[in-house]
C-alpha cells in the first residue's frame, strides 16, 4: 500500500511499487493532463510538482512518493500559475498542446524561484522541456510577460 497526496486529496493504492508516478496519475487517478512523451526523463511532458519541486513523473517510482505531496497541472493554483496561464493564453503559446502541461509546470517553478528571469535563466529552467512544435519563442515571451505581471 502506498499513501500519498495528489492535488490536496489523499490516496492509498495497492500497486506495484516500481510503477512510475506518471502511470499511477493517469491509469489509476485519471489525471490526464500529465503527458507521456519519452519515458526516460528526456522531454519533460510528464513534469509534476513533488513537494513543490518540478519532477519527471515518468522516472519517479510510486514507492518514492510515499507520504509526499504531488501537484499536477489540474491542481496548480496561485499567482505564478495564474500569471503563466494568462500569459500563455494571451499570445497563444500552444500548438499541438501535448507538451504544454509540462512547460507550464517548469515555467511556474522558475517564476516561484526567480521573479524576473533572464533569457539565460529561462534557457536553463526550460532546457528539459521539449516542444516538437517549437513554440519556444512564445514560451520565452510568455514567461517574461508573466514575470512582468507578477512584479505588478
Amino acid at each position: 500500500m502506498t499513501s500519498f497526496r495528489v492535488n490536496g486529496r489523499d490516496h492509498d493504492l495497492d500497486i506495484d511499487p516500481d510503477t512510475p508516478l506518471l502511470w499511477v496519475l493517469r491509469d489509476e487517478l485519471h489525471l490526464t493532463g500529465t503527458k507521456f512523451g519519452c519515458g526516460i526523463a528526456q522531454c519533460g511532458a510528464c513534469t509534476v510538482m513533488l513537494d513543490g519541486m518540478p519532477r519527471r513523473a515518468c522516472v519517479t517510482p510510486i514507492s518514492m512518493v510515499e507520504g509526499r505531496e504531488v501537484t499536477t497541472i489540474e491542481g496548480m493554483e496561485g499567482p505564478e500559475t495564474e500569471a503563466v496561464r494568462a500569459a500563455w493564453t494571451a499570445i497563444d503559446v500552444p500548438q499541438c498542446g501535448w507538451c504544454q502541461s509540462g512547460q507550464i509546470m517548469s515555467a511556474v517553478a522558475l517564476l516561484q524561484a526567480v521573479s524576473a528571469p533572464s533569457d539565460e535563466d529561462i534557457d536553463n529552467a526550460m532546457a528539459g522541456n521539449v516542444c516538437r512544435c517549437a513554440t519556444y519563442i512564445r514560451i520565452r515571451q510568455a514567461i517574461h510577460d508573466a514575470a512582468k505581471v507578477l512584479e505588478g
Partner: protein, 713 residues
C-alpha cells in the same frame, strides 16, 4: 457491459444536446450528392446559448484548423469571435471530404485552401437562415435585417436578437443553395489576428487526446514489433509475460505480438518479459552505409527523366562545370504524442477515439480487418499531439493494428493501443533516405546554361493503397521541388531513381521539399558564387518577369533582414527560397560559428500564402516550422546498423531542438487577395539551405551530408 466515459465534453455531447440548427445528417448527405460539395449545416451547430460550434473536418494537430475553419464560418455568419467553438468532425467521407483529395483527410497543407469557400458558404447559409427566421418572426422584409458580431437586428423596428433565440426557427428555413459571400474588402475577421480556440484547454490539462480516454474494462495494449523492417514473428514464448501481474493475455497479430494488461506499466513490463523469435528472411539487412552506396550508384546511373528542357549537350560548351552530391538520412517525425488509439468492439460494431488524420484510409481498414460494414465503424476524431505527417498513412497501419488487437482478443472489449517513444523512433514510416546528384554548367559570362539533378530514393506512394492517385505517373513526392523550379537554368534534366527497401517511408512535414529545397538551394548558392553573383541578386536575375510572387518574397526578406551580402560583422548570412503547397517562402538565416558548430541566431521570413486568414496562426506555423527544420538539420538522423537494426531509440539519441537553440524569428506576410494556400509545412523547407548557405559563407564549408551534427552512416 456498461461503458461510462470519463472524458470531459467532447464525447458526452455537451454541444450535441443544445443543437437547434443542426440539420439531420441525412439531409446534409443528400445535399452533398445532389448539389455538390456544399453541405453547410453538417459543419455548423448553433445552440440556444448562442454558441456556434464548427465541426472541423480537419484534424487539429497544432497547425490551427479549429481556429481557421471557425474564422471562415464566423466571417460569413457575422458571428462574434467569443461565441465560436470548434470540435473534430467524425469520420464520414461523404460529409467531410477534403475537397483537394475527394476523401476525408488532413495533409498537404490543404486545410484552409480547400475549406476557404466551403466554410464561408456554410457560414453564409446559416446566416441567411437566421435572417429568414428573424424576418418571419418580426414580420419584416429580410433585406432590412442586419447581422453584426452575433446580433441580428432590424434597425427600422429596433428589434434585435442573438443567434440562440432564433436557432429553432432558423432550423426550419430552407437551406440556400448558393448563398453569396463577402468581397475580401468587407472581411471583418479574416486577415486579423485572432486568439486560438484550443489554447485554454491546452493550458490547464483539460485538452483531450487519445491517450486520455479511459473506459470501463479497458485494457492497455503494447505490441512487440520486429527489430528489423520486413521481419515477421516466427514463434514466441509468453510464459514470463503472462506472469506479470496485470497482464491479461498475449496474442500474435500481423504486425507483431500484442500484450494486453489492466494498466500501462503492466503492459510494458509484460512486453519486456516476452520472448519472440523473428523470421528475418525477408528483412532489410543492409545498414545505412550500404543503402547510401546503392542509392548513390543509382543516382550516378541517371534515373528516369521526370522533367526535361532543351539539350544537355549544352554542358559541352560550358566554361565551368560544378558538381555536388548530397546525402539525406531517414528521419522520424517524432510527434510529442506517440501513436495511440482506443478501440471498442461491441456486438459487431466498432467505435474508435484518436487523432485520426486520414479517416478515408482508416475507417475502411478497420472495417475490413474486423469484417464489418464501414457504416458500423465510428471514428471520433480527437486532438492530436502533433503529427507532421506521421498519422496519415496510406497503409492505415495504426488503425489496422488497433483493429487487429481488438480482433485477436476474441471477444467484445475496449483496448487502448499505445506506441512508446522507442516504438515510434524505430517504427519506420520515415522521411525517405535520399541521394541527390547535381551538375551545372556556366558560360564565360557566369550565366547558367545547363542543369542536371538526379534524385534517388524510395517512393512514398507506390506500392501502397495510394498508388492509384498517381494515375500511372512517377511519385512526384519523391522529387517535388527539384522539378518545377521558377529559375531559368538553361538546358535542364531532372531524373529520379526509384529505390526499394522494406524500410517503410512516409511524408514528413513538407515531404519532398525536405531534401529538394536543401539540395537545390545550397547547390544554386555555390553556382551563383562561382559566377561571382550575390545570393539575393543572383536569384532574382534567374527569375522570369512573370515570377512576381517569387520575386516578392525574395525582395521582402532581403529588405527586412537588411541584406548586405554573405557576411557581416563576423556572422554569416544565407538566403533560400522555396515554393511548397502553393505558398512562396524566402528566408534569411544569420549564423555564428561557435567553435566549429553553427548557431542560428536569427531568421527572417517572407511568406506569401494568399489571403492571410489568421496572421497569428501563420506566424506561429512559420516560427514552429523553422524550429522543426533547425532541430532536424542540426541533430537528426535515423540510421540502420549493418544488419538492418535502427540505431536510435528515443530523445537521448534522436534529440529534439531545445529552447536555448531557438533563434529569433521575424515574419513578414505579403499582402494578397489571392486564394489562401498552405501554411503548416511551407515554413520548413527554406531553413536548412538558408542556414547551410550562411554557414558556408562564414566558414567556407559546404555541408552536403545531413545532419550537421553527426555522420549519417
Amino acid at each position: 457491459m456498461g461503458f461510462e466515459t470519463t472524458r470531459r465534453g467532447l464525447l458526452a455531447g455537451g454541444a450535441g444536446l443544445m443543437l437547434a440548427l443542426t440539420l439531420p445528417i441525412g439531409r446534409g448527405r443528400a445535399q452533398v450528392t445532389v448539389a455538390g460539395p456544399f453541405a453547410p449545416n453538417a459543419f455548423i451547430r448553433i445552440g440556444t446559448d448562442d454558441l456556434v460550434t464548427v465541426m472541423s473536418k480537419h484534424l487539429e494537430m497544432g497547425q490551427g484548423p479549429y481556429t481557421g475553419l471557425a474564422t471562415l464560418v464566423a466571417e460569413e455568419l457575422d458571428a462574434d469571435w467569443a461565441q465560436m467553438r470548434a470540435e473534430g468532425a467524425p469520420a464520414d467521407d461523404k460529409l467531410y471530404a477534403n475537397l483537394a483529395f475527394g476523401a476525408q483527410g488532413t495533409g498537404g497543407s490543404t486545410a484552409i485552401a480547400n475549406s476557404f469557400m466551403q466554410m464561408r458558404k456554410a457560414g453564409a447559409a446559416a446566416r441567411a437562415m437566421l435572417v429568414a427566421a428573424a424576418a418571419q418572426e418580426w414580420g419584416v422584409p429580410a433585406a432590412e435585417i442586419t447581422v453584426k458580431a452575433g446580433v441580428v437586428a432590424h434597425p427600422g423596428s429596433g428589434k434585435t436578437s442573438g443567434f440562440g433565440a432564433l436557432s429553432a426557427a432558423a432550423a426550419s428555413q430552407p437551406v440556400p443553395e448558393d448563398p453569396p459571400v463577402k468581397a475580401p474588402a468587407d472581411f471583418v475577421l479574416i486577415g486579423k489576428d485572432r486568439p486560438k480556440l484550443d489554447t485554454k484547454a491546452k493550458t490547464d490539462g483539460s485538452a483531450q487526446f487519445a491517450l486520455d480516454v479511459y473506459r470501463d474494462g479497458m485494457l492497455t495494449v503494447v505490441v512487440a514489433h520486429p527489430p528489423k523492417f520486413g521481419a515477421t514473428v516466427a514463434s514466441f514464448d509468453d510464459k514470463d509475460a503472462l506472469a506479470v501481474k496485470g497482464v491479461q493475455m498475449v496474442r500474435q497479430i500481423p504486425s507483431g505480438v500484442a500484450v494486453y494488461a489492466t494498466n500501462t506499466y503492466a503492459a510494458l513490463k509484460g512486453r519486456d518479459a516476452l520472448q519472440v523469435n523473428w523470421d528475418e528472411s525477408k528483412a532489410e539487412t543492409r545498414g545505412s552505409a550500404e543503402l547510401f552506396e546503392a542509392f548513390t550508384k543509382a543516382a550516378q546511373a541517371g534515373g528516369t527523366t521526370v522533367e526535361e528542357q532543351g539539350d544537355l549537350a549544352a554542358f559541352t560548351g560550358a566554361a565551368k562545370t560544378l558538381e555536388a552530391e548530397y546525402h539525406f538520412p531517414y528521419l522520424a517525425h517524432a510527434p510529442m504524442e506517440p501513436l495511440d488509439a482506443v478501440i471498442e468492439v461491441k456486438g459487431g460494431k466498432a467505435e474508435l477515439w484518436y487523432g485520426c488524420q486520414f479517416p478515408a484510409f482508416d475507417r475502411p481498414t478497420v472495417a475490413a480487418t474486423l469484417g464489418v460494414p464501414v457504416e458500423d465503424v465510428q471514428i471520433n476524431v480527437l486532438l492530436a499531439g502533433g503529427s507532421f505527417g506521421r498519422r496519415a498513412q496510406g497503409s492505415a497501419h495504426l488503425a489496422a493494428e488497433a483493429a487487429a488487437v481488438a480482433k485477436a482478443a476474441g471477444a467484445d472489449g475496449t483496448f487502448k493501443l499505445l506506441w512508446t517513444r522507442e516504438d515510434d523512433i524505430r517504427g519506420g514510416y520515415y522521411r525517405p533516405l535520399t541521394v541527390h546528384r547535381f551538375r551545372a554548367g556556366l558560360d564565360d559570362a557566369g550565366k547558367i546554361i545547363a542543369w542536371e539533378n538526379i534524385v534517388a530514393n524510395q517512393s512514398i506512394m507506390m506500392g501502397t493503397p495510394m498508388e492509384p492517385m498517381l494515375q500511372g505517373g512517377p511519385d512526384s513526392t519523391s522529387f517535388e521541388g527539384s522539378t518545377g523550379l521558377p529559375y531559368i537554368l538553361g538546358a535542364k534534366r531532372i531524373g529520379w531513381a526509384r529505390m526499394e527497401s522494406p524500410v517503410s517511408v512516409l511524408w514528413w512535414r513538407s515531404v519532398g521539399h525536405t531534401h529538394t529545397a536543401y539540395a537545390v538551394e545550397t547547390f544554386l548558392d555555390q553556382v551563383l558564387e562561382a559566377a561571382g553573383k550575390d545570393p539575393v541578386a543572383g536569384r532574382l536575375e534567374l527569375l522570369p518577369p512573370e515570377a512576381t510572387r517569387e520575386r516578392g518574397v525574395i525582395e521582402k526578406v532581403a529588405e527586412i533582414s537588411g541584406w548586405t551580402g554573405r557576411t557581416r560583422d563576423g556572422k554569416g548570412y544565407g538566403v533560400a527560397y522555396t515554393k511548397s503547397f502553393g505558398t512562396y517562402v524566402a528566408q534569411v538565416a544569420e549564423v555564428q560559428d561557435m567553435g566549429g558548430v553553427p548557431r542560428v541566431t536569427k531568421v527572417w521570413c517572407a511568406v506569401d500564402c494568399g489571403i492571410a486568414v489568421n496572421p497569428n496562426v501563420i506566424r506561429a506555423q512559420i516560427e514552429g516550422g523553422i524550429g522543426y527544420a533547425l532541430g532536424t538539420a542540426l541533430h537528426n538522423h535515423i540510421s540502420l546498423a549493418p544488419g538492418g537494426e535502427v540505431e536510435q531509440s528515443n530523445f537521448h539519441d534522436y534529440p529534439m531542438l531545445r529552447i536555448s537553440e531557438m533563434p529569433a524569428v521575424e515574419v513578414a506576410i505579403i499582402a494578397s487577395e489571392a486564394d489562401p494556400t498552405g501554411i503548416g509545412e511551407p515554413g520548413v523547407p527554406p531553413l536548412g539551405p538558408a542556414m547551410a548557405n550562411a554557414w558556408r559563407a562564414l566558414t567556407g564549408r559546404a555541408q552536403n551530408v545531413l545532419p550537421f551534427g553527426g555522420a549519417t552512416s
